[in-house]
């Protein structure tokens, strides 16, 4: 589904990513592991077109996206949940969710399934996004990305700074989504979390992919060492 070849990314004049190759197959959950500051988030941002990517190719379902602006990338079917959630703090939960529909030009309705996945949101529809707890914001951010039924869901460290019970909830949701056939790309530095949910893994260090494979065949010790925090 998503094919990334030879991707380079810059911040200002400093190179963050060097020649990244990465594939996400349809219906699979792919995890990108790595320590703080190796460029994982930058990588996701470069998929979304938020940083400078002078070289390389990003293909979603054989459609080249590298020269497209961010919003067309989103519209071609990528649901992005950034690190730190990036909820619109001064808008209500309902408004935040509706914004998720912008990918389809704001048309459509929020399917009730969203509230099944995240029952907590239903109770809080009129609350300001900024007043939610971190975990709730994370759920809202995922829900917001899901309302438009994206072909590919991208999650940036969905567990960071979130209390354990909600991490469990999120894990369950991801598995549910997988069952429904969603394709998901997760960035994590927290190994235990992905062991149970991901199919494929990549490990990034210093802007390069240093290991990849199936999660089922992964040498946990070795990877843990590579991404040790």
């Amino acid at each position: 589904m998503l094919k990334i070849k030879n991707l380079q990314a810059y911040y200002g004049e400093s190179i963050i990513l060097k020649n990244i190759d990465l594939n996400v197959q349809e219906g699979r959950i792919v995890c990108l592991l790595g320590r703080n500051g190796v460029g994982k988030s930058t990588f996701l941002k470069s998929i979304m077109g938020m940083v400078c990517t002078p070289h390389g190719s990003i293909c979603l379902e054989n459609k080249e996206l590298i020269n497209e602006p961010t919003y067309t990338r989103a519209r071609s079917g990528i649901g992005y949940v950034p690190q730190g959630r990036d909820i619109f703090p001064q808008m209500t939960v309902a408004e935040n969710l509706r914004l998720g529909l912008e990918i389809n030009n704001g048309i459509g309705k929020i399917s009730p399934k969203i509230y099944e996945l995240f029952p907590v949101l239903k109770e809080m529809l009129t609350r300001k996004g900024g007043n939610l707890s971190g975990g709730q914001q994370q759920q809202l951010a995922i829900a917001r990305a899901l309302v438009s039924h994206p072909k590919l869901l991208i999650l940036d460290e969905p567990t960071e700074g979130i209390q354990p019970s909600i991490i469990q909830d999120i894990g369950k949701v991801i598995l549910l989504l997988k069952k429904e056939g969603y394709t998901i790309l997760i960035v994590e530095q927290y190994l235990e979390f992905i062991l149970n949910i991901a199919d494929d893994y990549y490990v990034m260090d210093k802007g390069e992919i240093i290991a990849q494979g199936l999660v089922s065949k992964m040498d946990k010790e070795e990877i843990q060492h590579k991404i040790a925090i």
């Binding site: 971190g134 209390q163 354990p164 469990q168 894990g171 369950k172 235990e192 979390f193 949910i197």
Partner: protein, 251 residues
Amino acid sequence: MNTILEIKDLIISFDGFYAVNNVNTKINKGEIRFFIGPNGAGKTTLLDAICGRIKPQHGSIIFNNNKNVLHYAEHELVNIGIGRKFQVPSVFTSLSVYENMEISVVKNRGIFSAIFNNITKSQREKINTILELVDLFDYRYRKASELSHGQKQWLEIAMLLVQDLQLILLDEPVAGMGRKETTKTGELLQKIAAHCTVIVVEHDMQFVREYASMVTVLHEGAVLDEGSVNHIQNNPKVIDVYLGRGGENCA
């Protein structure tokens, strides 16, 4: 009496949200104290309070047994011996490395001295020594904007060092650094701790493990646990909220 900083019953709230909720802790001279905790646990807010940026609703912060930090304006803290480094490196980008240091080294920070006095030879030597220490000596005539991220962080630390402080607050000093740079920063911290006390807010647990003498775990604005790294690592509650992050139990 080797307590350098004592935080008593500190409460800070924004619009009814308790960012820091009744925090009590003591920091001893010569310590490298780490504050850890998940995002939003109130670590940065705590630092802000110590350096006078935020006025707490309740409580006190006593420095050197007799000075209540809360009574000082932000710019006066350096004079009593507290310095701070921000999370985003905030060096003066259009000045050279040397000029950055020059601004920091001076003791008399009044305006007339700034107009008429240039820095002394001993101060210049001091700057050079510290620049050597952080490996920026060769870069001293470069503009700070031309430094790499890590170098900027070191420059900011160097700017603190040159001020002869007793307490240094560092907000995520190794964020965005590679492993090598991180190690170097850690070594730097140890050198610093020889002269003064250091408080660090950090996420990088490996870094914490290697360099912390004491760790305070914050959670939702309150102190969850405090102690050595070993002690912390084995506290199930801490594992729950921070270290372990509860992933094993998912699914």
